[in-house]
């Protein structure tokens, strides 16, 4: 299977648990694995009982498994600081304030978090040479799906910007009379260079996501989760990504047949409705159900994680990436 594996789904369905379990499974099968969480709730920390930041760190007690957490807020700040640094080197003091305002505005737009997150995880994919497999535990919301559609959209945008920039430089060059130096020159224009770098970045992201990534959706056996999963599958397919499999998590355990108390009757009823929903998934949903994971009474960590990993019927063999 592809070197990059994404787990998505509605909030609270247990994406982090499943991602970590899959990471563990891969590591146990001898692949160097990195689990990347884009969830600012820092749940990977809870699963492994160990804190992580935005650079990969090995998970104690598990060989070959590293983990990291990306915090979009930190990323936005880092990006902002980087540009500010650049700004103070290039721009005269009188203009800095003027431009700073524009800069802050750009980083306050609703898309900034998504862009920051996107940047970071594409970076991780680009520098993934050390790992055989990278497992992404994506942030719980529709925004993650939009994130995956970004490369196509942005590549087009950048193309248009480059075209506009070239047109104006070309005109400036033509407007330079005789020996006058044109106001802008095409050769070595830093703006065009930056735009080209960005374009290459999005091109890499697009092809890596299309050719080297596999997608799985985690869901719970309830109506809301089912509906959202259905929409996500359609969305992803529209963008040209296919969902490889579904993971049903938090299934209610059935009581022993001789039990007949109020709790047992309740459980039996729940198991029945859940079974009906699973049947719907099996018959109506195209991606196969690759795992059915029961509800655990305790937080999933330690040995429990290994149990969950054992229930995951997702292969771990790695194909080499086609884009490096």
């Amino acid at each position: 299977m592809e070197p990059f594996v994404f787990f998505g789904g509605k909030g609270g369905v247990g994406k982090t648990t499943v991602s970590c379990a899959y990471g563990l499974k891969c590591a146990r099968d001898g692949h160097r694995t990195l689990v990347v969480s884009t969830d600012p709730a820092h749940s990977v920390t809870d699963v492994f009982d160990q804190s992580f930041d935005d650079s990969p760190r090995s998970v104690e007690g598990i060989d070959g498994l590293d983990a990291m957490q990306i915090d979009p807020e930190d990323e936005v700040t880092r990006h902002l600081d980087e540009i500010r640094q650049n700004l103070s080197e290039q721009v005269s003091a009188s203009m800095v304030n003027e431009i700073n305002r524009q800069l802050e505005m750009a980083h306050g737009t609703p898309g900034a978090y998504e862009s920051a997150l996107f940047d970071r995880f594409v970076d991780v994919m680009r520098d993934a040479d050390d790992y055989d497999r990278v497992v992404f535990d994506t942030a719980p919301s529709g925004s993650t799906l939009r994130l995956l559609g970004l490369p196509d959209l942005l590549e087009e945008w950048i193309d248009r910007l480059m075209y506009k920039r070239r047109t104006s430089i070309d005109l400036f060059e033509k407007a330079a009379v005789g020996n006058n130096e044109p106001r802008r020159v095409m050769d070595g224009d830093p703006v065009l260079r930056r735009l080209e770098e960005r374009k290459a970045f999005f091109e890499f992201a697009g092809s890596a996501l299309h050719d080297d990534a596999a997608f799985f959706l985690v869901l719970n056996p309830d109506e809301l989760s089912l509906n959202e999963t259905r929409r996500s599958i359609d969305d992803l397919r529209e963008k040209g990504f296919a969902v490889r499999g579904l993971v049903a998590n938090k299934l209610t355990p059935s009581p022993d047949p001789d039990e007949n108390g109020r709790g047992a009757r309740y459980l039996r009823e729940r198991v029945e409705t859940e079974e009906a929903r699973l049947e719907t998934i099996r018959s109506e949903f195209e991606p196969p159900l690759v795992a059915e994971i029961g509800w655990r009474s305790a937080e999933v960590k330690g040995d429990l994680l290994a149990d969950v990993a054992a229930e995951l019927d997702v292969e771990t063999a790695v194909e080499p990436p086609t884009h490096v």
Partner: protein, 98 residues
């Protein structure tokens, strides 16, 4: 200095004058127009980069912000042009010398 030389120097002066005259009356205004057109194209580029300056959210402004350090001149003149431009029609009108 014999006659041939004097004719030659006279021709050179005349040619220089004619070229200057042609440049001043015909070609220079044309270059000015091209420059204005270039400025307009640049404005369009700036607007596409930073539509949020006008309250229009853009999916790319996070990325185009990276260009800001290199756009000092452009940014300044963009703002200046936006301030003293009456209407787009007026601006385009300036580009025609009848």
């Amino acid at each position: 200095m014999d006659l041939a030389d004097r004719i030659e120097s006279f021709r050179q002066t005349l040619e220089e004058w004619l070229r200057g005259l042609y440049h001043g009356m015909i070609s220079h205004p044309a270059y000015e127009k091209i420059e204005k057109e270039a400025e307009d194209a640049e404005d369009a580029f700036m607007l596409a980069c930073f539509p949020d300056a006008f309250g229009i959210p853009s999916p790319v402004s996070y990325y185009t912000a990276e260009l800001l350090p290199y756009l000092e001149d452009e940014f300044e003149s963009w703002e200046r042009r936006l301030w003293d431009r009456g209407t787009y029609l007026e601006r385009k009108g300036q580009q025609y010398h009848f």
